[in-house]
């Protein structure tokens, strides 16, 4: 805070100026986390528009749409690394995008620190479960499981 000390001092006549508040200790975070979170929301949002709309068109509209979706259809798609990557990226981006959005909403509306803390614990736990099971299924999917 060296520069605050360099601020012009008013001397003589009138009461002395109140010293500017010292360090903003409780709010000081000194990381770029919020910046990256904000950027991530924008970039993942753009990617998700493509991924999700593409996903919906393939699943619901093309080739008879929703009626053809079954175990065999999923097995066929996940035999291809391209669709595995597509679904994996969509899973992670959508989950993290949603988690970050909810984190902001909790910060906005949970008034007590305790409420804030427990809502976030719940949120992050659920996110971990979804990400873990989702990723596990995509990587370990066995098309011959029923035989």
């Amino acid at each position: 805070m060296a520069l605050i000390e360099n601020a012009p001092k008013i001397t003589g006549g009138g009461p002395a100026l109140e010293a500017p508040r010292s360090k903003r200790s409780p709010r000081s975070t000194k990381t770029n986390f919020e910046l990256y979170a904000w950027l991530f929301m924008r970039l993942s949002g753009i990617l998700l528009v493509v991924l999700v709309i593409g996903h919906l068109i393939i699943q619901l509209i093309i080739d008879g749409g929703v009626t053809r979706i079954g175990f065999a259809f999923v097995a066929g798609r996940w035999a291809n690394p391209f669709w595995m990557t597509w679904d994996l990226v969509m899973l992670w981006l959508a989950e993290l995008h949603g988690v970050n959005g909810l984190r902001t909403i909790i910060n906005d509306y949970a008034e007590r620190d305790q409420t804030r803390f427990w809502l976030k614990v719940l949120l992050y736990t659920s996110a971990l479960i979804v990400l873990f099971t989702g990723t596990l299924v995509i990587f370990t999917f066995d098309p011959n499981i029923g035989q």
Binding site: S28, L35, W38
Partner: protein, 264 residues
């Protein structure tokens, strides 16, 4: 330079300008009162209540004039701040018909006088009495962004000159009168008292983009914090509320952009 939005002036001009009607009309001011001394018989804490005042007003008069009439003639206990009464000191920000405005810049004829005009204290700051709120948290955020010129080296012996283009860069944000209309219209500020709020960011913007100032990095660092510019949800309430016509949301976005391009 100081362009203030004058919506009425920009509309198509009528062929014959009708003569201004100065016939006084009776308007109802529905004011949200809070009297801290009004403790219940069993020591219950005071509760806010709505009170109606009928007052005669010229349609071209300001709401502030009507309120002063109420205070002078009907109820001297009605409490509100006002100083210059000409829209420059920023004392009389209040929520009139649900919108943050200055009582001294709001004309009776611009409001629907067939219904009571509601007047309440600005939201998000603690009400002390009637329309007077505790402005300390607001000014603390203002102080936190260091709203003064920061330079290094020796002071020049003459003025610190700057080109008209450099001055234009932050012209919009020099218009702030610190009335708190923007900050107290911000939904993030309502729910999160730690958020710096639009007014503090506007005043940081005024120095960050000033070519003579050297403290931009420090101010950006402060606004990069958890409760800084990234809390802004771009709802534009602040821009709508500003009685000086400052494009507040745009200023906040410019600070975000400066942060991104400096740090990423």
């Amino acid at each position: 330079m100081t362009a203030v939005i004058e919506e009425a002036a920009s509309g198509p001009a009528p062929a014959q300008k009708p003569a201004r009607d100065h016939t006084p009309i009776v308007i109802t001011l529905r004011i949200r009162r809070f009297l801290p001394d009004l403790v219940g018989p069993n020591g219950e804490p005071p509760v806010p209540f709505w009170q109606d005042f009928q007052v005669e007003a010229d349609p071209t008069e300001r709401i502030l004039t009507a309120m002063l009439k109420v205070k002078g003639e009907q109820d001297g206990s009605l409490t509100f701040r006002r100083s210059c009464a000409h829209g420059i000191c920023g004392s009389d920000a209040m929520r009139i018909n649900g919108r943050n405005r200055l009582a001294c810049k709001t004309l009776v004829k611009d409001l629907d006088v067939t219904k009571p005009i509601t007047i309440e204290a600005i939201k998000g700051l603690e009400v002390e009495k009637d329309l007077v709120v505790d402005m300390d948290p607001f000014f603390q955020s203002f102080k936190d962004v260091m709203p003064f010129l920061i330079t290094s080296g020796n002071e020049p012996t003459r003025e610190r000159l700057q080109s008209p283009e450099d001055r234009e860069r932050f012209d919009d944000t020099t218009k702030c009168i610190l009335c708190a209309c923007c900050t107290t219209s911000c939904p993030v500020f309502w729910t999160d008292g730690q958020y710096f709020g639009p007014a503090a960011i506007v005043n940081a913007h005024r120095f960050i983009f000033d070519s003579r100032d050297e403290g931009a990095e420090q101010r950006l660092e402060i606004l990069n914090e958890k409760e800084g510019v990234w809390r802004c949800r771009t709802t534009f309430n602040c821009t709508d509320a500003c009685p000086r016509g400052i494009e507040v949301t745009k200023a906040i976005q410019e600070v975000k952009r400066a942060l991104i391009f400096r740090r990423v």
